[in-house]
């Protein structure tokens, strides 16, 4: 198994993740990029030696320090396991992620059912450090482990008529106690326009901090779309379906005037009930300004050229 180490990061930094468990030490800890690189060389133990793991810097900013692993795994919105932030970590302990399969279907030439093991081997897993902005005006910086979703999409060869992609989360009220109450219209579905799904920033994600995805963060496989509010990134996905018409999405169905299909991070368009102009980065004291497209405007703004983003919120 070949694990390439970035030259500039001493291996001693890898163990520093421990220090992140303490908020006070976290403030003083080393810069985010350094750690991102360190996280990239942690050996993902579940890979069976099939892949090369290295870090991919592009999307992060030196001002973005990685959010501690403990915060990423104890402060979650994953209503399938309960609506409080601590419910998912408490209620997902016995969640079974093996066996797991993902059905890829709809308007594609080669529909297929992928076992999770196949997905893990589909492409080189890399660490992508992304900002994650929740619609509730808090944010994190997370070193995801995964590969661009388009690598999977290209394999199934979508038909020209495929305009949208729909992601469906597992429905299993026995394992997911939050689904026993009709808080949302289960199963949770999310969707992207085809060009959004094909964008290189859009990830199919299987891990974070170089480790297997914790259950509360959407194990075993989820989507990550960093320029949209967090709820657009479906978790624990069992179905990916290609459609001609815009798929119905869970939060849009629940409150259409509050959550649009696009839900791009946009400081100029407030949520009807609260401001989106600023956000609290987890671990920081003062709110910081929210960036258009969560700071990924250079890469994604052209997707929405000519669109009224106030209307298409």
């Amino acid at each position: 198994m070949l694990i390439r180490k970035p030259d500039d990061i001493p291996s001693s930094e890898i163990t520093d993740e421990r220090t992140y468990f303490n908020r006070r030490k976290f403030i003083a800890a080393a810069g985010g990029l350094g750690l991102a690189a360190a996280a990239g060389v942690l050996v993902p133990k579940f890979l069976d030696g099939a892949t090369d793991s290295r870090q991919e810097g592009g999307a992060s900013d030196p001002k973005d320090k990685l959010t501690p692993y403990k915060d990423i795994t104890t402060y979650n919105n994953f209503y399938e396991f309960g609506t409080s932030k601590t419910d998912p970590s408490e209620n997902s302990k016995n969640f079974r992620t093996r066996p797991w399969s993902v059905a890829v279907e709809g308007l594609v030439k080669k529909p297929a059912v992928y076992q999770i093991e196949d997905i893990l081997k589909l492409n080189t897993l890399q660490t992508h450090v992304y900002r994650m902005r929740c619609v509730e005006a808090w944010s994190m910086v997370i070193p995801w482990l995964g590969f661009p979703l388009r690598d999977l999409i290209n394999r199934v060869e979508p038909l020209p008529s495929a305009k949208y992609v729909e992601f469906t989360t597992l429905y299993d009220p026995k394992q997911m106690p939050g689904q026993r109450r009709p808080v949302l219209d289960w199963p949770y579905t999310e969707g992207l326009r085809m060009d959004e799904a094909m964008h290189p920033l859009t990830l199919l994600t299987v891990g974070l901090y170089g480790k297997m995805l914790p259950n509360q963060d959407g194990a075993p496989v989820r989507v990550v779309v960093p320029w949209k509010y967090g709820f657009k990134s479906g978790k624990s996905i069992v179905k990916i379906r290609f459609t001609e018409t815009q798929p119905a999405t869970a939060w849009n169905k629940a409150a259409p005037q509050e959550y649009g299909f696009y839900s791009n991070v946009n400081p100029h368009v407030d949520h009807p009930r609260w401001s989106q102009a600023k956000e609290r980065r987890i671990g920081e004291f003062r709110r910081r300004p929210t960036l258009m497209f969560n700071g990924y405007g250079d890469q994604v703004a052209q997707l929405y050229a000519g669109m009224d983003l106030r209307k298409n919120y």
């Binding site: 403990k70 104890t74 601590t86 619609v135 009930r273 004291f285």
Partner: protein, 264 residues
Amino acid sequence: MSQGVGNGVSGVGARNVGQRRDGEGARGAEVGTAEALTARRRARPRSPLSHPLARPLIFAVCLIPFALLAWNAYHDNLGANPIEALEIHTGVWTLRFLVITLSITPARKLLGWNGLARYRRMLGLFTFFYACVHLSMYIGVDMFFNVHDILHDIVKHPYITVGMASFLMLLPLAVTSTAGWVKRLGGRRWVALHRLIYLIAVGGTLHYMWAVKKDIRDPLIYASIFAALLGYRLWITSGRTVRATIGMFAERASPPRTSHAPPP
């Protein structure tokens, strides 16, 4: 110390006003004197609620949530988003103290725990205390005194508007909670002013409900408790109104019956 103050003159004012609002006290009569009250209390068997240590004990218990929050904040035990946690917890404790305060009168009437009455004002002031902590968390910690952002929030976001309005309504209630203010306003006007508490309960619950993203189970629990507490009072009042109407009707109806006897 607090025992003396609470059970003395100021306690009398609050107690008698409460009674008058509930229609128990002498209607229209002046507030009872401290001596009369003490005499009445002596005549009754002592309850634990009148123990000299009861007031400081209840006072201390009311501070426990605050102390726990302060402790957990200091020791970084409030999770990944401690500021949000402080805002939520202080807000919820404000509503809880409002529930407790509004439960005093029904508890007295339904359970006969009359000794509770003397703690109603203190509990009301604790509601105000937790509201103050809640508001200062928002202004001083969350928004970090950013006047522009706070004003924008108040104007643009209904849950902040309603929350702020509810707090402003609490202010006159806290200020006029002393016996001096009861005298200055006169019992009837004091009672009328303090009816604002029901509006505050509605406002506080709305504030909570609109702040929650989707799962409004907890806000609904508070909404139903407040509805029950308000409903109880409406029921009592309407019962009295019905009785009064019947009485009026009887008074009016009876003279004609005597004067206009049915024709033979």
